[in-house]
């Protein structure tokens, strides 16, 4: 085998995988502009399904509910995820550390149906006991926040590992109290990780169908629940239109956030270089 054959093979393998990953998304988008009632038979281009979307009250209220839940569950997830990451990384030895780290990774790997079932049975027991909480927005929020906390922990942890703690020590040597160190040194350095944890947990919540189905009560249908119930019945052109809208928003958000993080990274490096040259003068 010579090198050009290997190169050709590796490149075509990669292209094939990317085609496999993107083909469904691209067809989904193309056929959202199809005028036909039949989802997969092309007639001519139109915005018919986008106008239908705007009059679809079920879908619009579901979007509202999903956005609300995603926003709050992302905030809660980042909050608890940061605490978990700190507990696991800043304190290497404490009683029950293994239990905490395995509890924090359970929602990541456990099948959704088990997480959903177990949370629901816990909430039902709680309700029989205290008469609270009623199934609905709050219970869905709790489920998403649990899942999100596990993911946020991973994101914040990987950032904490990159930070070597020397800056924290320097700040403490200069007389900062632990809370001041956190507020003035650790937190600003963590911001990019917190932003990506927020975006990730927001998307996870906005995307979840299994946990929501278990935890929701009458009258609370999230967007994925509406999509899922329609997709179960068959093909439906409005789903294509919804898909195109979400894909557009998500793509813009992901690209914008990756620009933001690389910008932050460069800014930080510049500042570090500046600081070094200042001290060497």
């Amino acid at each position: 085998m010579n090198n050009s054959v290997i190169k050709w093979f590796s490149q075509s393998w990669m292209v094939a995988v990317y085609i496999f990953l993107y083909m469904p998304i691209i067809t989904l988008v193309i056929f959202s502009f199809n005028d036909s009632q039949l989802v997969t038979v092309w007639s001519h281009a139109s915005f018919r399904w986008y106008t239908a979307l705007m009059q679809d009250d079920d879908l619009i209220s579901a979007v509202g509910l999903s956005l609300k839940i995603a926003l709050f569950s992302a905030l809660i997830s980042v909050f608890f995820g940061t605490f978990t990451a700190f507990a696991l990384n800043r304190y290497k030895r404490f009683k029950g550390r293994t239990l905490l780290s395995s509890m924090a990774s359970t929602p990541l790997v456990m099948p959704d149906v088990i997480v959903g079932l177990s949370l629901l049975l816990m909430l039902v027991s709680l309700q029989q006991w205290l008469g609270y909480p009623e199934r609905g927005l709050f219970t869905i929020l709790l489920g998403h926040a649990l899942l999100g906390t596990a993911y946020a922990t991973v994101v914040v942890t990987s950032r904490l590992r990159e930070m070597d703690g020397k800056l924290d020590e320097a700040a403490m040597d200069l007389g900062c109290k632990p809370l001041q160190v956190f507020r003035l040194v650790t937190l600003p350095l963590l911001v990019p990780a917190l932003v990506s944890a927020f975006l990730l947990t927001f998307t996870l919540s906005f995307d979840d169908v299994v946990l929501s189905s278990f935890l929701s009560g009458p009258g609370y249908s999230t967007l994925p629940m509406v999509i899922f119930s329609r997709a179960r019945l068959g093909l439906n052109p409005t789903i294509n239109a919804v898909a195109t809208v979400t894909i557009t928003v998500v793509t813009i958000a992901v690209i914008a956030s990756s620009f933001y993080t690389s910008h932050q990274e460069r800014k930080r490096k510049r500042e570090v270089a500046q600081a070094y040259s200042d001290t060497n003068q």
Binding site: S10, W13, F94, S101, T106
Partner: protein, 301 residues
């Protein structure tokens, strides 16, 4: 008084708060719920709720365990077959993801350094767009009058549409499609750190590239292979949405059985028992995953 204050202060110092808050959160939402599932799996369904475990008929509390759900699980062949076929589909998904994902991750790790962030983002991007919508997209591609069949017919490759939807094939396509990034990412993370000097040394000593790959690259990427395989296998065993949307009524998956026991039959003890056995099945792979994760994160000193 001063002593008490001191005690309170010690109790509420940073360390206890930082550890205590996540501990309470996960105990309440991750551990207690699983224990409740175990408890309910040993109860009986009574009209709208499950029977109480404490029995007071003797004047003192005795714990009443009901193994009806488990004995039904053991005797009904359907459950046994469903567990086996879930494991089979999950194993097949893992194997196919590894066969597609390993070369991909390897080539990605060897591609020009400045291209790698973009290639990586292109793998992550579908992950950010709704999983449900991507599975639905495969439905529009695979149905009898779907896009693939229509294109093949118009190109005169086939005359009759191929029945791909609601078969094990469509299930596998959906599963591999959804879980492939979970295989690629840990493999790439591992392979991109591989020290190329080992391969150079092997080449200097006369080893062929092919042999060097099997003797050096693959063993060194063992951690990545295990992490990726577990990340695919464990959730695949309990997958519900993909078999529901792409699998036929005869593709048995345990996630679907659990869902039906709960939502259609309203049998909570049965659903819990199904869940408990499923947890036992994935316990071993989860332990392996956790072991390799912690070895990765805390290198031996």
């Amino acid at each position: 008084m001063a002593k008490k204050n001191n005690y309170l202060q010690r109790f509420f110092d940073g360390r206890h708060v930082v550890i205590g808050i996540p501990y309470l959160w996960f105990l309440m939402l991750a551990l207690v719920p699983l224990l409740i599932v175990l408890k309910i799996s040993l109860s009986e369904m009574e009209s709208t709720s499950v029977s109480s475990m404490l029995d007071w008929t003797h004047g003192w509390p005795t714990i009443k365990l009901n193994f009806a759900s488990y004995s039904f699980l053991a005797t009904d062949e359907l459950y046994y077959k469903t567990y086996l076929s879930s494991l089979k589909y999950a194993l097949m998904t893992t194997a196919i993801c590894l066969v597609i994902g390993y070369p991909f991750a390897y080539f990605m790790a060897r591609s020009p350094k400045h291209l790698q962030p973009t290639l990586l983002m292109l793998i992550m991007l579908p992950f950010w767009t709704s999983f449900l919508l991507r599975i639905y997209a495969w439905k529009t591609l695979l149905v009898n009058n779907g896009v693939i069949n229509n294109v093949l017919i118009s190109l005169h490759v086939i005359n009759e549409p191929i029945a791909m939807m609601n078969t094990p094939f469509s299930l596998m396509v959906g599963m591999v499609y959804s879980y492939l990034p979970f295989m690629i990412l840990p493999l790439y993370a591992n392979l991109s750190k591989l020290d190329l000097r080992y391969l150079e040394a092997a080449a200097d000593l006369g080893t062929s590239p092919f042999k060097a790959f099997w003797l050096i690259t693959v063993p060194l990427s063992k951690a990545g292979i295990i992490a990726g395989s577990m990340l695919v296998f464990i959730p695949a065993v309990g997958e519900y949405v993909i078999p529901e949307l792409l699998g036929g009524s005869d593709t048995l998956m345990i996630g679907r059985v659990l869902w039906d026991e709960f939502f259609s039959n309203n049998d909570w003890p049965m659903a819990s028992a199904v869940a408990v056995i499923m947890i036992l099945l994935i316990m071993l792979p989860m332990a392996i995953y956790n072991k390799y994760q912690s070895e990765q994160l805390e290198p031996k000193t």
